[in-house]
Amino acid sequence: MAVIATSLGGGNVYVRRRMADVRLGLLLALATAPSAIIGALLATQVNARLLAAMLAAVLAASAYGMLNPHAQTDPDQTKTEVDSQPSSLHLQTTYQEPSTGETVTYRVTRIPMGVCASVLAGLMSGLLGVGGGIVQVPVMHTLMRVPIKVATATSTYVIGITAVAGAFVYYNHRPSYVDPSLTIPVTIGVFLGASVGSRILGRVSQRGLRSIFTAVLVIYSIQMTLRIFGIGGG
């Protein structure tokens, strides 16, 4: 529920400002949604420590990808390059950088690989009940060469669709995994946080956002590793 509320609270702002690419998001959702359903169905049968180990490994790999200077994308691809390679899928090729007001041009690459990697994001989302963004943002940014702000915004939009795919399974499980006493505070709190966060995103630099995201990946990876050894709860 928190993931869906995050997606709706932040995603609506990103989509309206055209920072999120709806077409790219739906293309990736085609891969993440079915794997999220499979993940949700398997979640009750898979060992919790094994799940934590899987997530820690994926997060560590994602953090490495974000730190790798060869994989980093700066929104400085020339318009000539974009125009010379038109996409039959009409994916977004520009966005307006809120911090400067400039129109930034980019080109989405390696679409088939990105779609395949998104299967992993969906599986993680379904298995662990987390947003697949921790996998999908690095995939979009480092693999598909999407500027990190667009990757973050598009991921925020997609995680809601991915989470819904498995959410009904969690909801109708008997007993249900949804606690009604938590729904209202979680939904309102997350909505407010996501709304504020989506507005702050525009003011953060590309480099700053990449550093923050990498730090979150590392911290989350350490947390998951500690959980494998029974430290830190869970």
């Binding site: 529920m1 869906i4 509320a5 997606s7 709706l8 609270g9 995603g11 609506n12 702002v13 990103y14 989509v15 309206r16 400002r17 055209r18 709806v22 077409r23 739906l26 293309l27 959702a29 085609l30 949604a33 079915p34 999220a36 359903i37 949700a40 169905l41 039959s88 899928l89 009409h90 977004q92 809601g160 669709i161 989470a163 819904v164 795919a165 498995g166 959410a167 009904f168 399974v169 909801y171 109708n172 008997r174 007993p175 249900s176 949804v178 606690d179 009604p180 006493s181 729904t183 209202i184 939904t187 309102i188 909505f191």
Partner: protein, 113 residues
């Protein structure tokens, strides 16, 4: 590009509207629960029981309805995007958005098993 901007606004407002509606319905359920002095259960009502409980004015069913509106909003958002793609005759993405809705429908059907 201008058509895309309109489509983005259409999808964005759909997502925000659904989220606010779900919060509103959940709050009505919470207030109704307080007014009727019915304590909340620790588990939500199963999908196939919500209709009957709603007809009886059960606040737990109103709360469950709010949760379901929240779950349905991203699906409605995809449908809104599909409508926008139909307007601009973007055939690949009409097919992709219908495919995503189909997959979500499968998830819903599996949950009802």
């Amino acid at each position: 590009m201008e058509e895309d901007h309109g489509a983005g606004a259409f999808v964005g407002w759909t997502l925000l509207g659904g989220l606010l509606l779900s919060i509103g319905v959940m709050l009505v359920g919470l207030i109704w629960s307080g007014l009727t002095s019915q304590s909340q259960t620790s588990h939500v009502l199963p999908l196939d029981e919500i209709g009957d409980h709603l007809r009886n004015g059960d606040p737990a069913a109103i709360l469950a309805l709010g949760i379901l509106i929240l779950f349905a909003t991203p699906v409605v958002g995809v449908a809104a995007a599909c409508v926008a793609f139909i307007r601009v005759r973007d055939t690949p993405f009409i097919a992709i958005s219908i495919g995503v809705i189909g997959i979500l429908a499968v998830g819903f059907a599996l949950a009802l098993r």
